[in-house]
C-alpha cells in the first residue's frame, strides 16, 4: 500500500463560550486544519491539528508549508506503521512537531482501518468502557465561574479546570479557587490553571492562600523550576502542561518533583506515536495523564480518546471532549459527553469522518 495524495482543508471553529486564559489569551474563533491521506489500494485516513494562536510554538499557517516540504517523503511511503514514516519526516525536516502530528493521526487511522480494528486495539487494547472528562471553566468573575462549575457538576462532570490569571489580580484567583471548591463540595477534583501566566511571587501568594483547600495547581509559571518553587512553597499537587512536550522535558518535570499530573497533547508531542511513548514513560514516572490536544474538533478528539481508552485507568487523569466546546462539528456522529464521561468509537480506524459539506473546498492537494 502506498500513499498517493494529501488533501488539506481549513475550517474556522467558534467556541460556544468565549474562552479566556491568563495574559489576555482567548480562543474565540480558531482555524483547524484537516488532512486526508489517500492510498493506492487501501483506505484513506484522517488527521486534524488546531493550534491556539499566540499560545505554544505552533500556528495554523505553519502546517501547510511544512506538509508541502514533507510531501516528497510522505507520498509513495507505506502508511501502515506510522512510526517509520514519522522517523523519515523527522530526518527530512527537524522540529515542527505540531505540523507532523496531523500526518501521524492519519497514518494511525489508515493502519487501524487496514487492520479492521478500532484504533485503541492497536494502542494497547481497551482498558475502560468510558473515560472521565474534565470541564474547563473560562477565567471570568469568581461567582460566575462557581455557577458554571455547579452547572457542569449537575451534568456529571467530576473534574474541573479553573482558568486563572486573566486580570493579574492574585486575590481574585484565590477567590476563584475558593468559590469553585466550595460550590462543588468535597470530592470532585479542582485545579487552577495559569497557562504559564503568573510570575513566581503571585503564584506563591495564591498557592499559599489556598493551601488549606483540596486543589491542584497547573503550570503557574513559564518554567519547570518556577512551577517546582510554587509547589514547594505550598505543598499543593502540581500538573505540568506547556513545559512538557517530549521525553527530555517529561524527565525534567519528574526530577523537579512537580509533575503529579501532566497534559499530553497530540500537537505538542507530535502525534499518537510520540504520545504512546510518553504514556508508557509516565507509567514509570507516576504522573497521572490528561490525554488530549490544545484545541480541535472531532478528528482530534477521537484520536485522543483512543489513546486514553488504551491507557491504564489508574494512570489516566482525564481526557477532553474538545469537539463539544466548538462549532461546527466535523462529524456529527462522533462521540459526545454523556454524564461527564465519553467513549471512543468502536468501528475500524479512528471511527470519525468529516462531513464534506463542513470541509468545503480543499486548501491544497499534494499528489
Amino acid at each position: 500500500m502506498k500513499i498517493t495524495r494529501l488533501s488539506l482543508w481549513q475550517v474556522p471553529l467558534t467556541s460556544h463560550v468565549a474562552y479566556h486564559m491568563a495574559e489576555g489569551k482567548t480562543c474565540a474563533t480558531v482555524t483547524t486544519t484537516v488532512l486526508r491521506i489517500d492510498t493506492d489500494t487501501g483506505p484513506s485516513g484522517w488527521g486534524e491539528v488546531c493550534p491556539i494562536p499566540h499560545y505554544l510554538p505552533a500556528y495554523a499557517g505553519g502546517v501547510r508549508p511544512a506538509l508541502e516540504k514533507l510531501a516528497g517523503v510522505i507520498l509513495g511511503a507505506d502508511p501502515v506503521g506510522a512510526e517509520a514514516v514519522m522517523d523519515a519526516m523527522d530526518a527530512y525536516l527537524p522540529g515542527h512537531d505540531y505540523a507532523k502530528s496531523i500526518v501521524d493521526t492519519a497514518l494511525w487511522d489508515i493502519t487501524a482501518r487496514a487492520a479492521h480494528l478500532p484504533l485503541y486495539a492497536l494502542l494497547g487494547g481497551r482498558r475502560a468502557n468510558t473515560l472521565p472528562l474534565y470541564h474547563s471553566i473560562t477565567c471570568c468573575e469568581p461567582d460566575e465561574m462557581a455557577r458554571m462549575a455547579t452547572e457542569a457538576l449537575a451534568c456529571g462532570i467530576t473534574q474541573f479546570q479553573v482558568k486563572l490569571g486573566r486580570d493579574g489580580d492574585w486575590q481574585a484567583d484565590v477567590e476563584r479557587l475558593a468559590l469553585v471548591r466550595e460550590a462543588l463540595g468535597a470530592g470532585p477534583l479542582v485545579y487552577g490553571d495559569w497557562n504559564c501566566g503568573a510570575d513566581r511571587l503571585s503564584a506563591i501568594r495564591v498557592a499559599r492562600a489556598v493551601a488549606h483547600l483540596d486543589v491542584m495547581l497547573e503550570q503557574p509559571c513559564a518554567t519547570i523550576e518556577d512551577c517546582a518553587a510554587v509547589k514547594a512553597a505550598s505543598g499543593l499537587p502540581m500538573k505540568l502542561d506547556e513545559n512538557v512536550h517530549d521525553t527530555g522535558s517529561l524527565l525534567a518535570g519528574y526530577h523537579a518533583g512537580c509533575m503529579d499530573a501532566v497534559a499530553l497533547k497530540l500537537s505538542k508531542f507530535g502525534g499518537l506515536s510520540a504520545m504512546r511513548r510518553a504514556r508508557d514513560l509516565c507509567y514509570r514516572l507516576g504522573a497521572k495523564m490528561c490525554i488530549e490536544d490544545t484545541w480541535g474538533s472531532d478528528i482530534t478528539t477521537v484520536a485522543a480518546l483512543h489513546l486514553a481508552a488504551a491507557t491504564r485507568p489508574g494512570a489516566l487523569l482525564n481526557t477532553c471532549d474538545l469537539s463539544g466546546y466548538v462549532a461546527p462539528r466535523l462529524d456529527r456522529s462522533a462521540p459526545v459527553r454523556v454524564n461527564g464521561r465519553i467513549a471512543p468509537p468502536e468501528s475500524a480506524g479512528l471511527g470519525a469522518t468529516p462531513d464534506p459539506e463542513i470541509l468545503g473546498q480543499p486548501l491544497a492537494i499534494l499528489d
Binding site: Y55, P57, A58, G62, P65, A66, Y92, L93, G95
Partner: protein, 372 residues
C-alpha cells in the same frame, strides 16, 4: 516612523559544491533564501535575510519563514522599526517559538534603526570594533591528506581560522586531529566541529585520546544533556552550537559550566536582538564566541559581522563568509567581502549592504497597512 509595507522575496542560492550534512543526512545543492524588504512612511527602507542551512539541519525551512511572516505581518505594520524591542515583543506575542522566521524582520529593523541614526548597526548596538574578523574556513575533508590539502588552500588565501568538520569514524577523526595539530600555525584558530555527529561514547573516545592537545570540540553530541553527561569525564574545551537556541539555553550552559565557547548563529537564535543577550551571558561568564549566519548571501554574513564587532577582540574567535560558498551574488560585490581571510566592518549606516532587487524576481508576498 512606521512600518508601512513588508515585501517578501524568495531566491535560490546555489552552492558551489553540493553539501552533505554529517551522518549522511541528505545532500543539498541550493539554499532557500528569504529576503525581506521593509518600507516606512518616512521613506526609509530596510532589508533582512533568513537562509537556513538546508531543511534537515535544525528546525528551520524557507517555506516556514515565509508562513511565519504571513502570520506576524499584521502585528508589525504600524510599529516603529527603530524600536526593535517592541518589534521583538510583537513577534513573540504573534507567534511563539519559530525564532528562525523572526530573524529577517529583526535584521531589517536594525538596518533601519542604523540608517535613521546614521550609524553602522554595530555602533548603534554600543560600539563596533574595526579590527577585521577572521573568517573560519569550512574543512569538510574526509582523509588526513585531503584535510591537509583543503587547509593549505585556505591558508594561501589568508585564512587563519578553520572549522574542521569531524564526527565520522572515531579512529580517522583522531588521526586527522593529530595531523592538523602537528601543522597548526602559531596564531591559527582551529575548531573541530562535530555537528552532533557522535554518541556520548564516541565523543569520549576522541576527546580522551586527544586530551593532551587541548583542542576545542564543537557540539560533540546531539543535546545539552549529552554534553553535560560527558562533561565530568573529559578535560577538553567545548563549544555549543546547535543546542544554543534560547536565552534559557545560554543561561544553563553558563551556569552549569557546559562550554567555554558559544557558536551563535543568527537565524537560529532569532536575530541580533536575541543574539545580543546570548553575547552578554557569554561575556559575563568568560565564554568566547564564534558568530555566524546559518547560511546565505553577503547580507547574512554582514549581520553576523555586526554582532561580532560588538564583542571585544579578545572574546570573538571568528566569523564566517557563506557568500564564498554560493555561486550567485545578489549584491554585486558590495558589502563586506573576504579580504585575506577576514571581513571588515562596513562604515555605511545600517546594515551596510542591500541586494539588487531585480535579481530577486517578483515578490512572493506583500503586506501593507490598510489605508484608513
Amino acid at each position: 516612523m512606521k512600518i508601512t509595507r513588508i515585501t517578501v522575496f524568495q531566491t535560490d542560492l546555489p552552492l558551489e559544491h553540493p553539501y552533505w550534512l554529517s551522518g549522511g543526512r541528505l545532500r543539498f545543492e541550493t539554499l532557500d533564501a528569504t529576503l525581506v524588504k521593509i518600507d516606512t512612511d518616512e521613506g526609509l527602507t530596510g532589508w533582512g535575510e533568513g537562509t537556513p542551512w538546508g531543511h534537515t539541519y535544525v528546525p528551520a525551512h524557507g517555506p516556514g519563514i515565509r508562513a511565519g511572516i504571513e502570520t506576524m505581518a499584521s502585528f508589525l505594520l504600524g510599529l516603529d522599526p527603530r524600536r526593535v524591542l517592541e518589534v521583538e515583543r510583537a513577534m513573540d506575542m504573534a507567534l511563539p517559538g519559530h525564532l528562525y522566521a523572526k530573524s529577517p524582520i529583526d535584521m531589517a529593523c536594525w538596518d533601519m534603526a542604523g540608517q535613521a541614526a546614521g550609524l553602522p548597526i554595530a555602533d548603534l548596538m554600543g560600539g563596533g570594533s574595526r579590527t577585521p574578523r577572521p573568517i573560519a574556513s569550512s574543512v569538510g575533508a574526509k582523509t588526513v591528506e585531503e584535510t591537509r590539502e583543503v587547509m593549505e588552500r585556505y591558508r594561501e588565501r589568508g585564512y587563519i581560522a578553520h572549522s574542521v568538520k569531524i564526527g565520522g569514524d572515531v579512529a580517522r577523526d583522531i588521526a586527522r586531529i593529530r595531523d592538523v595539530e602537528a601543522r597548526r600555525g602559531e596564531h591559527e584558530i582551529i575548531l573541530y566541529d562535530v555537528n552532533r555527529g557522535w554518541t556520548r561514547a564516541q565523543a569520549l573516545q576522541v576527546m580522551r585520546a586527544t586530551e593532551d592537545l587541548s583542542v576545542i570540540f564543537e557540539q560533540p553530541c546531539e543535546t545539552l544533556d549529552d554534553i553535560a553527561a560527558i562533561r565530568p569525564l573529559h578535560g577538553v574545551p567545548v563549544s555549543v552550537d546547535e543546542s544554543l537556541v534560547t536565552l534559557q539555553d545560554a543561561a544553563r550552559i553558563a551556569r552549569d559550566g557546559l562550554a567555554e565557547v558559544f557558536g551563535i548563529k543568527l537565524n537560529r537564535v532569532g536575530g541580533l536582538t536575541k543574539a545580543a543577550r546570548l553575547r552578554d551571558i557569554a561575556l559575563a561568564h568568560g565564554i568566547d564566541m564564534f558568530v555566524m549566519a546559518t547560511g546565505g548571501s553577503v547580507l547574512a554574513d554582514t549581520e553576523a559581522l555586526h554582532l561580532a564587532a560588538t564583542i571585544p577582540d579578545a572574546n570573538i574567535r571568528a566569523v564566517w563568509a557563506c557568500q564564498d560558498m554560493i555561486t550567485v551574488d545578489i549584491a554585486a560585490g558590495r558589502g563586506p567581502r573576504a579580504r585575506d581571510g577576514h571581513l571588515h566592518l562596513p562604515e555605511a549606516p545600517g546594515l551596510g549592504v542591500h541586494p539588487d532587487e531585480e535579481l530577486l524576481g517578483p515578490p512572493v508576498a506583500t503586506y501593507e497597512q490598510a489605508s484608513r
